[in-house]
């Protein structure tokens, strides 16, 4: 019995790897699958296109809002108010001391008079409000610009604490409440984007996998026969992977095309995008982001095939 068990399978037919004939046969089956079930093919493509369109729109909004947020962040300044009556001679050493702190960029001195002039400029229609003032109540200050990367709350709070330690500094202001709300908004926006993105991708994969299952059900007998005449799982599965990756790519192309068309039609035509956002233009997705959308389509097709075929061909 032992010797009998060790006998190898004689080769009636070659074990068969992937050669030109096999590839040609596979692509022929891809074409046949598409032409025999065009509705399923277009349903799968449309599903992926629609999902990628939502993801693309979200990415477009995210990229632009993120750009806006960055430009706002870059403008964050710290205002260090000086104690009233601080001798002129102590101003320069104080400024030098502040300049040595990590994170401090440009420092600009704003005198009491300049502060008053600015205020007058801001309330020029109600100057009567300032007429009753006998003396200038506004303090002199240093306007401190931060170096790149120091605009976050995590880095800014310790820096402000350090500034407050300097003798001659009365108070420090940097829009704490605004920055806190702003940081919370950024975190919330990123989280929501991530959750929605993941949900959409998961839903698309689910729908895509089920569309493939429908195709598989219509071809169940054909696949069984192939298996019985010696087709490997790879031979049976590969056309479905290729077909679904083509559908994913096609869906991606349609999504990017529709997104670009809509952008050109509605956003590109707006002469002053500043009407919609307070700074910066509304940019379209970068070529890399478009490439990522197409790749996402291909990946969704692949994952959909993997999930459905894995279950369908389970022994």
């Amino acid at each position: 019995m032992k010797n009998f068990l060790t006998v190898k399978i004689p080769r009636g037919l070659p074990r068969g790897g992937f050669n030109l004939t096999t590839l040609s046969s596979i692509f022929q089956r891809v074409r046949r699958n598409i032409s025999t079930s065009p509705h399923l093919h277009w349903a799968a493509t449309a599903t992926i296109a629609f999902s990628l369109l939502i993801i693309g729109t979200f990415t477009l909004v995210y990229v632009n809002v993120n750009g806006l947020i960055k430009s706002w962040q870059a403008n964050i300044r710290v205002v260090a108010y000086l104690q009233d009556g601080l001798p002129e001679g102590r101003r320069a050493p104080l400024e030098q001391g502040l300049a040595k702190l990590y994170g401090v960029g440009e420092i600009r001195y704003v005198s009491k008079d300049e502060a008053m002039n600015r205020l007058k400029g801001q309330v020029k229609h109600r100057l009567s409000l300032l007429e009753g003032l006998r003396e200038n109540p506004l303090p002199a200050s240093f306007e401190i610009r931060l170096v790149q990367g120091w605009q976050s709350r995590e880095r800014l709070d310790p820096l402000v604490d350090q500034i407050k330690q300097f003798a001659g500094i009365d108070d420090v202001e940097y829009g704490q409440a605004w920055l806190r709300r702003f940081s919370q908004f950024i975190a919330f926006f990123r989280l929501v984007s991530l959750i929605i993105g993941v949900l959409i991708v998961a839903a698309t994969v689910f729908v895509s996998a089920n569309t493939i299952k429908l195709t598989l059900c219509t071809k169940r007998q054909e696949l069984e026969i192939m298996s019985l005449v010696g087709a490997t799982d790879a031979f049976i599965q590969t056309p479905f992977y290729i077909q679904n990756m083509i559908e994913g790519l096609l869906g991606g192309v349609i999504a990017v095309g529709v997104l670009f068309g809509t952008y050109k039609l509605f956003i590109g035509g707006v002469e002053s995008p500043h009407l919609l956002l307070s700074s910066g233009d509304i940019a379209f997705l970068s070529p890399a982001a478009c490439g990522a959308l197409l790749s996402a389509g291909i990946l969704i097709g692949w994952i959909g095939s993997f999930l459905s075929l894995k279950r369908f061909l389970r022994p």
Binding site: I9, L13, L228, G230
Partner: protein
């Protein structure tokens, strides 16, 4: 069975049950290389089940089967296609792919095995000529008669020069002329060294070739004899 010849199929105490229904009971059978075996018996005797166990369309409930030295109960799933490529199977219900032409149905066997296109064209035409269907290459199965479909199924089973040919009622739907044509093909394959196992209840076939007859009755081997 030739004494000392290499066994290609061995069945040891094989049982097959579908729920409480017994399809095969304690089958012990050895088929040697280049044997020609008829499995016969009434409808429901277990002929089809026995064949299906051999190409792993079904698995045994109990017992062991060895095909070409490969233990079918231990074979890895990935190896099954390679085992099947050494077998040609003629199914009772033909099992042709209806969206494929006659040519494509037969060529599929060689395509899965990675044969070259030119070889496939030559071989498929050759085998279809042998079953009298050379002029139906581009026809779809549903446009063929039952007998013609059966001949396509036979051509598909034979095209890969299998080591073992399993045929389930291969002449069931054929008239005498077509049945003779098909049987001639089996004989040629047998002459070339193929082991042929035919499940049939048509006793007229026994006279056409020198072989062994295994009679099944209610899932049990009732007798074994030579023609």
């Amino acid at each position: 069975m030739t004494t000392g010849a290499e066994p290609v199929i061995r069945m040891f105490h094989v049982h097959k049950r579908y729920g409480s229904q017994i399809a095969l009971h304690d089958i012990n059978l050895t088929v040697v290389k280049n044997d020609f075996v008829f499995i016969t018996g009434q409808s429901g005797a277990g002929k089809t089940t026995l064949l299906r166990l051999l190409f792993l369309d079904e698995v045994v409930s109990e017992g062991q089967i060895l095909v070409n030295g490969v233990h079918l109960q231990r074979i890895r799933r990935a190896k099954i296609p390679f085992l099947r490529r050494n077998m040609g199977v003629v199914f009772q219900d033909f099992r042709l792919i209806h969206s494929y032409t006659v040519y494509e149905n037969v060529a599929l066997v060689l395509e899965t095995a990675g044969r070259q296109k030119r070889y496939i064209q030559k071989k498929v035409r050759q085998v279809l000529r042998m079953v009298g269907l050379e002029d139906r290459l581009g026809t779809y199965p549903q446009r063929l008669s039952g007998g013609e479909q059966q001949r396509v199924a036979v051509a598909r089973a034979a095209v890969g020069n299998p080591l073992i040919l399993l045929a389930d009622e291969p002449t069931g739907n054929l008239d005498t002329t077509a049945a003779d044509m098909v049987f001639e093909l089996f004989r040629q394959l047998h002459t070339q060294g193929t082991t042929v196992i035919v499940a049939t209840h048509d006793s007229r076939l026994f006279e056409k070739v020198h072989g062994r007859i295994v009679l099944l009755n209610h899932g049990c081997v009732e007798s074994k004899r030579t023609t």
